[in-house]
């Protein structure tokens, strides 16, 4: 995080001299003193580690995401035993019906979910920052066009486009018989989120840049002959890190729950790709008959999003010295 925050400050600071405290560094120090931030960051790191280490966990756990244990289900297809079949062998029990292990599917689903959400958040933030920055700095017709694009994106119904586009694209790229690799579905999801997710970042950055572009340090750089690239990247960007980072930290959980929401209307990833979202969607039907099936994926989702929101809040506070805490 240190590195990220300091990117904007340019040249690395040589060690061994009085080190200037960049605003990013100050934020980092504030963040380190914030216990909530630390705890939520630790939870997030844990989630990331679990997602990254999924194959290792599978090896250690001895059960794959596609293995079925239907013999441990009763006649209705409900898991036998306590709390949805929780046991030393199956930490979180079994899915009703197919009888797959919830724990390992959760681990793999987390991996997919994280990848989708983080990549989409990076992309949408990049698009938003670039468009918002350009529109805010240059103003004029470009600003009008970007504003209009924002309105258009907001007016396009996200769910409908997603619903219509997913099967269409699969057909275009893979015909009707070829196996559609899971990465394709993941890619489509990322693209959809990125295309629809940039508007808030763009608005934020645009507003920030409009406030900044009249500042004299920008004029100073222009008077020195700086070009558009230098102005945007070297002068303005370092001053918009805070809103960009914060909107990124809020975009990730939004996309995590978004993936689940898409499953709700039948878009998103299809079997057999383990998907966090679809798992939650399916589990909700079992709220009465197998609450454990809801609890584990649902609890994980809530914990993940909660940690992200906590961290995002802490980050915002840390980056904004005016905040009252």
């Amino acid at each position: 995080m240190d590195g990220t925050l300091r990117t904007g400050t340019g040249d690395p600071i040589p060690a061994g001299r009085t080190v200037g405290r960049s605003p990013g560094r100050l934020a980092w120090m504030r963040l380190r003193r914030d216990r909530t931030a630390l705890v939520s960051a630790a939870v997030l790191v844990l989630f990331v580690l679990v997602a990254l280490a999924a194959p290792l966990i599978e090896a250690a756990y001895g059960i794959g995401p596609h293995d079925q244990f239907q013999r441990r289900l009763d006649g209705f297809g409900m898991p036998l035993g306590h709390a949805g079949g929780v046991s030393g062998e199956h930490f979180f029990g079994l899915e009703p019906g197919l009888g797959r292990d919830i724990f390992i599917r959760l681990v793999y689903g987390l991996r997919t979910s994280f990848f989708v959400a983080c990549t989409a958040a990076v992309l949408s933030t990049l698009i938003g920052a670039a468009l918002g920055g350009l529109a805010g700095y240059l103003g004029g017709w470009l600003d009008a066009v970007v504003s209009w694009l924002t309105d258009l994106t907001l007016a396009m119904p996200f769910l409908i486009v997603a619903l219509a586009l997913t099967p269409t694209l699969a057909l275009r790229f893979y015909g009707q018989r070829d196996e559609v690799p899971p990465s394709f579905g993941v890619g489509v999801l990322i693209a959809i989120f990125a295309v629809f997710g940039w508007t808030s970042t763009a608005r934020l950055v645009r507003g920030q840049v409009i406030a900044l572009r009249e500042r004299e340090f920008v004029a100073a750089a222009r008077a020195s002959g700086a070009g558009l690239g230098h102005l945007l990247v070297r002068q303005l960007l370092p001053n918009t890190w805070a809103p960009i980072l914060v909107s990124f930290s809020f975009a990730v959980p939004q996309f995590v729950t978004g993936e689940a929401a898409l499953s709700f209307i039948g878009v998103g990833l299809t079997e057999p790709t383990p998907s966090f979202g679809r798992m939650i969607y399916q589990s909700l039907d079992y709220l009465q008959t197998d609450p454990a099936f809801v609890l584990f994926p649902g609890g994980t989702l809530v914990a993940l999003v909660f940690a992200f929101n906590l961290f995002g809040d802490a980050l915002r506070d840390a980056l904004d010295p005016r905040s009252a805490r």
């Binding site: 904007g8 400050t9 340019g10 040249d11 600071i13 040589p14 001299r17 009085t18 080190v19 200037g20 405290r21 960049s22 605003p23 990013g24 500042r215 004299e216 340090f217 004029a219 100073a220 750089a221 222009r222 008077a223 020195s224 002959g225 700086a226 070009g227 230098h230 070297r234 002068q235 370092p238 001053n239 890190w241």
Partner: protein, 322 residues
Amino acid sequence: MTAGEPLLRVRGLTKHFPVRGGLLRAVDGLDFEVRAGETLGLVGESGCGKSTTARLLVRLLEPTGGRIEFAGQDISRAGRRALRPLRPQMQIIFQDPYASLNPRHTAGQIIAMPLQVNRITPPDGIRARVRELMELVGLDPEHDNRYPHEFSGGQRQRVGIARALATGPRLVVADEPVSALDVSVQAQVVNLLRRLQRELGLAFVLISHDLAVVRHFCQRIAVMYLGRIVEIGDRDDICRRPQHPYTRALLSAVPDVARRDRAGRVRLTGEVPSPLDPPSGCRFRTRCPSARERCAVQEPALIRRDGGNQATACHFPAGASA
């Protein structure tokens, strides 16, 4: 360029901003020249178009009309590419030392910026040049990795000055360089500027609302009112023999030991008229103690009288009547 040629020549410079409800005539026909190594002070109340002029001179703004020649080259319509070779030769110092430094850059980065932007590599490298500049403006070179918020106001303005000097300019436009500073610091900075001007032989356009600062610093003084120059001339002429009632009013507001005993302190009454709708004829007439009918009808031209260097735009200048 011959020695007598001015470094900067401004002719009929105008800048109008289209706003709701009309045209804001911020700068409305300026004529003046600045020779190499010469210092010109531009004074006037706030809102008279000083800052706009400063930004026009370094082409942060594009003029609506008129001509700006820098080193004999017309730059009034020049694009970014055409300005590129001239940029290192003209720099600007801003009023607000807080806003003019990028809070996310270190002092070193800020001072090095003009060099990097213009792809200038000093013989000993950028770092050495930065340290040299910092020493030159009286900053500890060890502080080059500090951020603006870790400096005091005066120190920050020094950083701004160092930045302006980085490329070795021939002309520096200083827009109210000290007005945001504490009075005790103001003198230090003004002295620094004087020293630099002398040592480096810079041409300066110093813009200020404070006649005291200008008088202390500049060889020539131009007085602006509502987007126009009402009087221009050598410092001593302007200070000793102000001909325009507005100049006299400004002078009389300066606490000055030499003049304390003299009567005739001119007080300005009323508000500055809106530049959206300037008065007809002489723009100063609405506040002028000696305004007559003619002033409302005919706009006075900036005319040299007495054959000297001093020019005044007034139908009834003080010197003539005296």
